[in-house]
């Protein structure tokens, strides 16, 4: 851009704003232009074979979990299930990269990450079955409640990580969000707080192509979602989200950096949601079969299976063993989910306040009367015994 000189401007010597200097050098923060890959590249030589085999078993189990949970929605056992089929590499890597003392902040699609971190498969589905909201104690598992509002759990991760650091604990928080979630204000505020506070947080964006039906190109005009990091003063990393070894490595480096006091990192994992948004969504309205097929050829389990097979680390027996273990998990899940949950309607009032207000005590008494009347009518305690 050129500035036209005004008559008499020669006498005027413009100077820069007095205190201006760059706060951060942007160059080291920029992501690589291509998503980072390990499988099928030279980088795979550095990967630990034992870790790869563990990741493989978890991927197979995770795929089976997604299939079983989807089947449970068709049987009416789950109210809804947002499947992460196709995205298992992100889910598994996120769970396995953390130490026990670290915290995971999952979104509603990240049930699998919570299960891979050790949460009971049935407890993880409480929200989606509809018997309560969060079926586990977040402190016990260091897994925040599965978060339905978009990106609102990200500032929680920042606050928790910040608090841990203030207390002198070397705890890292890993927060998961989708591509659509990066448009929300809470995404911005969380990243900004994390960078300013140098909080030990890792943000994992699973870019699966669509926010329900809206494609990435209508979501952002940024070069990539990883590029958004630069504006906050944190490094952005771009990774192939279907390459579990690559996701694990990149997240591992980010976690190590956070733990060492280096501050937050934004990781964008490029992946694809093979199923619809949920069982209530019709994905054929917004994407073609050829696109889905192209991603099917880049399946996370197949990528790893080919690598392990080619290197002689995995044979037919190993594959069969992983599948059998996954089947056992699915059978257990099916069996447990086929039992009707026993609910106590009086729990409606139990967890609103530490101490019930007089108003809630009154309302609880009213419900008690209704329940007793119901019981009197049918002679059973179909609504739970309430004690």
């Amino acid at each position: 851009m050129t500035v036209q000189e005004l008559p008499g401007a020669a006498a005027y010597r413009p100077t820069p704003p007095p205190a201006w200097k760059p706060l951060t050098d942007p160059a080291p923060l920029l992501p690589d232009p291509e998503p980072y890959r390990v499988l099928g590249t030279d980088a795979v030589a550095d990967a630990d074979p034992e870790l790869l085999l563990r990741l493989y078993a978890e991927l197979v189990r995770g795929r089976r979990y997604n299939a079983q949970a989807t089947a449970l929605t068709k049987q009416g056992r789950l109210a809804v299930y947002p499947s992460s089929t196709g995205q298992e590499a992100c889910e598994i890597a996120a769970a396995l990269v953390l130490e026990e003392r670290d915290w995971l902040f999952p979104s509603y699609r990240d049930t699998l990450a919570a299960v891979a971190r050790g949460l009971d498969p049935v407890e993880a589905l409480t929200l989606l079955r509809g018997d309560w909201h969060t079926g586990y104690d977040p402190r016990e598992h260091r897994i925040a409640p599965l978060c339905t509002p978009l990106a609102t759990q990200l500032p929680h991760a920042v606050g928790l990580a910040h608090a841990a650091r203030l207390k002198g604990d070397d705890v890292v928080a890993l927060a998961m969000v989708g591509d659509g979630g990066t448009s929300e204000g809470d995404f911005h505020e969380a990243l900004n707080f994390a960078a300013v506070w140098r909080a030990p947080v890792v943000f994992l964006v699973q870019n699966n192509g669509f926010a329900i039906s809206v494609p990435l190109a209508k979501q952002t005009a940024a070069p990539s979602l990883a590029h958004k990091a630069v504006g906050y003063g944190m490094p952005g990393r771009l990774v192939d989200g279907n390459d579990v070894a690559a996701v694990h490595q990149v997240l591992g480096e980010a976690v190590a950096r956070a733990r060492a006091g280096g501050g937050p990192t934004l990781v964008e994992a490029v992946t694809y949601r093979m199923d619809a948004h949920t069982n209530a969504d019709d994905a054929t309205r917004y994407r073609g079969e050829s696109e889905v097929e192209a991603w099917r050829a880049h399946d996370p389990i197949q990528l790893l299976e080919r690598e392990l097979t080619a290197r002689g680390l995995l044979g037919e027996d190993g594959i069969e063993e992983a599948r059998a273990a996954a089947e056992r998990m699915a059978a257990g899940l099916r069996e447990q989910m086929n039992a009707d949950p026993v609910l106590d309607p009086m729990d409606l009032f139990a967890h609103v306040y530490a101490e019930q207000t007089a108003q809630l005590r009154e309302q609880a008494a009213r419900l008690r009367v209704e329940l007793d009347a119901e019981q009197g009518q049918d002679g059973t305690s179909g609504a739970g015994d309430g004690r």
Partner: protein, 342 residues
């Protein structure tokens, strides 16, 4: 610890003269007593808050305990959620009432619900301080009364002091509470001295209890926060007319003290609810309904409301026409049409 005992701890220093000083003292004493109490917000550190409520805290306790945050209300409250999840007791300052709105999603979806969502496993002891209401000549977005929004959200306590002692005691109790508290500070009372607060008790009632600030026999004025001085003044003025008004200060909107309010109205048989937030869909409707349900056979007249008009908060040069003053309260009292002393 009782609030009375907490109030007793300040004997080594002069008693706070203004509500602003009492609030600052409450923050200081809470932080000194409990290392998990952290104050955060925009300008709360070096500046001491735009109302100077947090003055000196950063100096005394360090930037980590009293933290200037980026300017982002959702981020401030969202970070406070995470801090509370890790065992801290965050006290958040929302600089002005209308500046709190960006944080509403965090408040409603997370702060209010976390205990419930997790079946009681994860309570959030967060105090959100919101300077609220008009009467200080603020331009738009600086004078809202947002209490109805907070009251309509189960899981939150909504507390609003009207006296210097309550400012101290209720804030201490709010910070000590294991539930989230919306602490509404009537900013036009920040600098009012304790003088108008008649014989304010040193012992402060806990959260959830209303108090009778002035006993009377002919009607009850039910009020809170910035409208308490208005009602007390109206009650004094009404004496000349032969009206003996009882004034109830709610102090806490959630939980609501039905007992104290109903007992008063049963004694007097007449009630006027007074607040400065808009009347339609406002706190007064809820309060009038509760009073009617409990006291119908004792009532000699319908429960009336004196509230701000149903308009967006007006510009400062017109706000005196909007805010319920003594005359408007007395007009309502006259409409109760009682036969004096009968």
């Amino acid at each position: 610890m009782t609030t009375a005992a907490m109030a007793g701890e300040q004997t080594d220093k002069a008693k706070p003269a203004t509500m602003a000083q009492a609030l600052g003292r409450a923050l200081r004493d809470s932080m000194a007593e409990d290392p998990t109490v952290h104050v955060l917000g925009e300008d709360v550190g070096t500046l001491g808050g735009v109302f100077r409520i947090t003055d000196g805290l950063a100096k005394e306790f360090g930037d980590d305990r009293c933290t200037d945050t980026p300017l982002a209300e959702a981020g401030i409250l969202g970070a406070a959620v995470g801090m509370a999840m890790y065992g801290l007791r965050p006290v958040v300052e929302m600089q002005f009432d209308a500046f709190a709105y960006p944080a509403f999603e965090q408040l409603i979806s997370h702060v209010a619900k976390m205990r419930n969502r997790t079946g009681g496993a994860m309570p959030l002891p967060i105090t959100v301080r919101v300077p609220y209401g008009g009467g200080i000549g603020g331009v738009e977005h600086h004078s809202d009364s947002s209490e109805a929004y907070y009251m309509a959200t189960p899981g939150l306590h909504v507390v609003t002091p009207a006296t210097v002692d309550d400012a101290y005691g209720l804030l201490r109790a709010s910070i000590a509470s294991d539930d989230p508290v919306i602490f509404l500070e009537p900013k036009r009372l920040y600098w009012s001295k304790a003088a108008w607060s008649p014989d304010a008790p040193v012992e402060v009632e806990p959260i959830g209890r209303a108090v009778v600030r002035r006993p009377g026999r002919s009607a009850t004025l039910i009020t809170y926060g910035p409208s308490l001085p208005v009602c007390l003044e109206a009650a004094e003025a009404a004496v000349e007319e032969g009206w003996d008004l009882e004034v109830v200060d709610l102090r806490s909107l959630v939980p609501f003290d039905d007992e104290t309010v109903a007992a008063s109205v049963r004694r007097t048989g007449r009630a006027v609810v007074v607040h400065e937030s808009s009347g339609f869909g406002g706190p007064g409707g809820e309060i009038a309904a509760r009073v009617t349900e409990r006291c119908f056979h004792h009532l000699e007249a319908p429960v009336l409301r004196v509230a701000g008009f149903d308009i967006p908060y007006p510009p400062p040069m017109l706000e005196r026409h909007h805010l319920p003053g003594v005359d408007r309260v007395l007009d309502a009292v006259a409409r109760l049409q009682w036969e004096a002393e009968s």
